[in-house]
């Protein structure tokens, strides 16, 4: 009979900082446990509110944000705009393939620190000058990570741990500017980097449907939102549609986010605009290009932001500025996953 008991032996090892980056959030799992015990709303009550109230009550200056979706896909645009509109300042940000989401907050000058894997690009569309300038000017303090590292940092928190071991980043400058620690496997001696659990102050996620309690379902890929929802100390859900609790209970295996993780629920149809909402509408590539172009010049950008964010009172008014329902219907037609 084969055993692997030779792996069980006492030994001393050294934990070493692998990089010079900073840790912006407390990875302590015990403190998170106490917070979750005392502050997470285990009341199954109606949590429906407005975008304005959700932001004013749950997002404070200085908070650290985790944003759901994937840059221009299933992003909570309404909340991001409102954060800019309410001129929130000194926010921290988890930047794992953050694209238009980061662009919005950078344009608003809201961010002063960032765990970064990908923030200044918009994938195939080009780069955001505003985001880039914010980073190059040193106005945002950065710690370097990778997409997987940030996903795993959420996962560590979601698992109720203070760290997880990972196998990427090693041997690179990405590691050198991270805040990971070198460690090794207690059994095999395999080298690992430990990444600290990331418990954001506020998580913001846009979903396909949820009930008034916050029980939420997402169609298609979930990116890192399963773990973000569990890691976040406070969680704001925006949803394409509010649905009866009965509908959630009909297919409970689809529930990605149970109500007890959720602090506020807002129904925001077309809430991912100008991003893509799978099965609902495609991204508005024209508007995204307008954003990028507006960034070429500070005055143009000011006017652009005034027109689309500062000068409108809410997300529905923003949708009017881009062509309203007529344009939205076009985007619905462009969506691959809408059967016709």
């Amino acid at each position: 009979m084969q055993h692997y008991c030779h792996l069980l032996k006492e030994r001393s090892v050294t934990y070493k900082p692998a990089g010079t980056g900073k840790i912006f959030t407390d990875p302590d799992a015990d403190k998170a446990r106490v917070f979750f015990r005392d502050q997470k709303p285990r009341k199954m009550v109606n949590k429906v509110t407005t975008v304005a109230k959700a932001v004013s009550e749950l997002v404070n200056d200085g908070d650290y944000l985790g944003v759901g979706g994937f840059g221009t896909n299933r992003i909570p645009t309404a909340i991001l705009h409102e954060i800019v509109r309410q001129r929130k300042k000194n926010l921290g940000f988890a930047g794992h393939t953050a694209t238009h989401d980061f662009q919005i907050l950078a344009a608003g000058g809201c961010i002063n620190r960032c765990d970064v894997a990908y923030i200044v690009g918009l994938e195939a569309r080009g780069l955001s000058k505003v985001a880039r300038k914010a980073v190059e000017s040193g106005s945002i303090e950065l710690t370097e990570w990778t997409n997987a590292a940030l996903a795993w940092r959420y996962k560590a928190a979601a698992m109720g741990l203070s760290f997880l071991p990972v196998r990427s980043m090693m041997g690179t400058d990405t590691e050198k500017y991270s805040a990971a620690m070198e460690m090794e496997c207690p059994f095999t001696g395999t080298k690992y980097l430990a990444v600290p659990a990331l418990y954001p102050d506020v998580g913001i996620i846009h979903v396909h449907r949820c009930d008034v309690y916050g029980n939420s379902q997402i169609d298609g890929i979930v990116v890192a939102d399963y773990d973000l929802a569990r890691a976040a100390k406070r969680l704001i859900i925006t949803t394409e549609r509010l649905v009866p609790n009965e509908l959630i209970r009909r297919e409970p295996a689809k529930t990605i986010i149970p109500f007890y993780l959720v602090d506020a629920v807002v129904e925001v149809p077309f809430g991912s605009y100008p991003g893509n909402m799978p099965y609902e509408y495609f991204s508005d590539e024209n508007h995204l290009q307008e954003w990028l172009k507006a960034e070429n010049d500070p005055e143009t950008l000011s006017a652009f932001l005034e027109r689309h964010i500062y000068g409108v009172k809410d997300f529905n008014e923003y949708l009017n500025t881009i062509g309203g329902m007529a344009r939205l219907q076009e985007l619905r037609k462009l969506e691959t996953l809408v059967e016709r």
Binding site: T97, E123, E144, T146, N147, R167, A224, F282
Partner: protein, 256 residues
Amino acid sequence: MEYNDMELMICIASRYLEDDSIVMVGTGAPCAAAVLAQKLYSPRLTIMFEAGGIGPLLSSMPISVGDSQSFYRAIAASSMSEVMETCQRGLVDYVFLGGAQIDQYGNINSTMIGGSYQTPKVRFPGSGGANDLGSLCWKTMMITPQDKRRFTEKIDFITTPGYINGPGAREKAGLPPGCGPYKVITNLCVIGFDEQSKRMKVESIHPGRTKEEIIENTGFELLWADDLVISEPPSKDELAVLRNEIDPYRYIIGRQ
């Protein structure tokens, strides 16, 4: 047949993707190469996207690796951690990466150039999942134009590990053994990596290009394969499928 550099690179890249394997791709040229491989050489190639899409039947090219296309009629619509853990578990054969600079060991910079880390002269999009994929997938491939600015002796920032500084360096750093850069497909040639030194070694020169031209466009000393050949140019079939089926609006192949 006439073809441009982008078409050439995509067609050549597509031939390196073995059937019955899994390839992680981004948007643009790599995705086109993978779909071309599926259509002509490797029908059972599984395409994966880092945001969670697995094995989609791509009708057109995604704009984002997390958009609706990335899991259109997929076999699974999963998550970033699921895809990254599939790489970490050793199941993903190929990954295509891009970058602003690459050195002779295949280390890639997609983070920044000049200045300091906190105030760089130029900040690029960054690692995203590149570092993870280059660390965890078995074979890293690159499609890139070749010039001295990109192919440099010393890159400003190692975003994604190649062979770091030579044989055994990846393993010493703690990365999973047995993986690393595989092929760099440029507008001039196909470059592999020397088994002994882990340095770039030119394997085939594209039709009409010369050794001198390659040397001129490279900021470090290249090795040359003993059996150096002329690359097979894009075939009629390859170009037809690429132009008519994969990128009819020339979004990718018109970029040059």
